[in-house]
Amino acid sequence: MDFLWHQMSEKEKEEVKKQVNSIIDSFSKKLSSIKEKIDEQFIEREKFERDEEGNASEIKKEIMFENAPESNKDFIITEKKRW
């Protein structure tokens, strides 16, 4: 297998999909061979919420607008003609 980055054709994308199913099945098969019983795990946290702090600076705002594919003066347009 060639691991160098390259643009993929639709055919290659289909091949990757087929290959993935065989990889994940091999993982599942390997893990299924573990016989030891393990209890369910839960994580307890004291606090589930946090407050956002501060105001965005002008430079941050400017870069965010620069990154956006579509925006007008005051907001980023994220959904137009994309539904």
């Binding site: 297998m1 691991f3 290659e12 993982f27 599942s28 390997k30 946090r50 870069i63 990154n67």
Partner: protein
């Protein structure tokens, strides 16, 4: 004569000019900080006044998955090729506060998905110590930039070995800190339950210095706990150390031989104790690690839909990223049967418990960082062979413990790294042991 920051920076910039895109074509640096000369001048002024921080004079590159205000966090991908960071990650804030100088952004495998540095959309990173061979991944540019004398230090990220593997192949020192010890705020995540940001440098002392700056609890990272080290203490040789040498089948016996010789030398000199150990679940690490990564990466990449920034990831990514996205998607669809993610989480607990039990008897576990030599750039290898790169590093991400890779010699003129593993939040002990090994040279 001691050089100031500006003079040292000039030397690094000349080296980058000569060997990054031309000359040796290392391809470790993707972008130079346009304000770097001006920032260096300010740091030199602070040094003159005696008001500079702990990192004053240190020149640092940053992996392209960490946000640095005004620079591109491309993640080595066409998806975020034009994405400019609008804020500093916590680790960057801390570095700047201590007067570290960010020279630029380092190349990496696309979204940190890779073992060799070949999956970057901006070209593979060449190994500065063994030209033509892969540098190792995914923090390929970070380790290669230190190894090629493009900077003093670097920040990388480690999810399954992404700092330690390239550190080993490039002959530098790389630390995977304990999970939750370093803030991930501002890191573009690959696998949230495994990712850690960590330092890379030419020696243990500089690695510890950078770790000392970036470590600590951060309210902006929900899992952050922090940790602490005492830099001066690292220089003292620890007494009564008991090493567990991992018994693991490695095809190339020359790698294990180098490690065994180094341990023998340390045991003799420092009167440490040593014993061979077997870890029953280490063979399950790869099968445990990837289902977790596939699932978490699939979830993490849903935001790259091209609406607010960048391009839609599935349309422009390379094969390895697509493999992980499809893998995560397929597993999520089938997860009702509990055959994948659920099973991997259970196996992860067994691996974690096994390490915990081992650390009750041993101060550290030692093994080669990578059980094979790097392949040539572009060489065709099977995915199973590729998985081998992470075989000895990914278990430590699953257990959440800390580990360091230090150079111990060469095989076929290619650097070999030795991995030292300590229990969670025992970085102090880890650095002391690593420094003791380094002092044998």
């Amino acid at each position: 004569m001691v050089m100031n920051t500006q003079e040292r920076l000039k030397i690094f910039l000349e080296e980058i000019e000569e060997h990054n895109k031309s000359g040796n074509r290392i391809n470790a640096i993707l972008e130079i900080n346009p304000n770097v000369m001006e920032e260096a001048k300010k740091i030199d002024e602070k040094i003159k006044k005696g008001k500079a921080g702990k990192l004053a004079g240190k020149i640092i590159s940053v992996k392209a998955v960490i946000n640095v205000l005004g620079l591109h966090a491309s993640c080595g991908s066409k998806t975020l090729e034009d994405y400019k960071s609008s804020y500093d990650a916590t680790v960057i804030e801390k570095i700047k506060k201590e007067d570290g100088l960010i020279i630029g952004i380092a190349n990496c495998d696309e979204f940190a998905c890779g073992w060799s540095g070949e999956t970057s959309a901006f070209g593979a990173t060449n190994n500065p110590q063994a030209l033509g061979y892969v540098a190792g991944g995914s923090s390929s540019g970070s380790c290669a930039s230190v190894s090629a004398d493009f900077c003093d230090m670097s920040l990388g990220t480690d999810t399954g070995g992404s700092i330690r593997v390239p550190a080993s192949h490039c002959g530098v020192v790389g630390l995977k800190p304990s999970y939750a010890s370093v803030s991930r705020y501002g890191l573009i995540d690959m696998s949230m339950s495994l990712d850690q940001i960590g330092p890379i440098a030419k020696n243990v002392s500089d690695t510890a210095l950078l770790f000392d700056v970036i470590v600590g609890k951060d309210e902006r990272d929900a899992i952050s706990l922090g940790s602490k080290i005492d830099i001066k203490e690292i220089e003292s040789i620890p007494r009564d150390i008991k090493i567990g040498v991992l018994d693991f089948q490695i095809k190339d016996s020359r790698i294990q031989k180098l490690i065994d010789e180094k341990i023998e030398e340390a045991v003799k000199k420092y009167k440490w104790k040593v014993e061979k150990i077997k870890l029953d679940y280490i063979d399950f690490a790869v099968a445990t690690y990837f289902p977790i990564v596939y699932n978490e990466f699939f979830s993490a990449t849903r935001k790259f839909d091209g609406r607010r920034f960048g391009k839609r990831i599935e349309e422009v990514c390379g094969p390895e990223v697509l493999r992980r996205i499809i893998g995560g998607s397929e597993m999520s669809k089938a997860e009702h049967a509990g055959r994948y993610y659920h099973l991997a989480l259970k196996a992860r607990k067994l691996i974690e418990d096994e390490f915990k039990k081992t650390f009750k008897k041993f101060d550290c576990i030692i093994c080669p960082t990578v059980p094979r030599l790097p392949h040539l750039i572009g060489e065709k290898i099977s995915i199973e062979e590729m998985f081998q790169y992470d075989a000895l590093t990914s278990p430590i991400n699953l257990s959440g413990d800390c580990a360091i890779s230090i150079p111990v010699g060469m095989v076929d003129k290619i650097p070999i790294g030795m991995q030292i593993i300590c229990e969670k939040f025992q970085e102090q002990k880890l650095f002391k042991i690593a420094r003791s090994f380094e002092r044998l040279d």
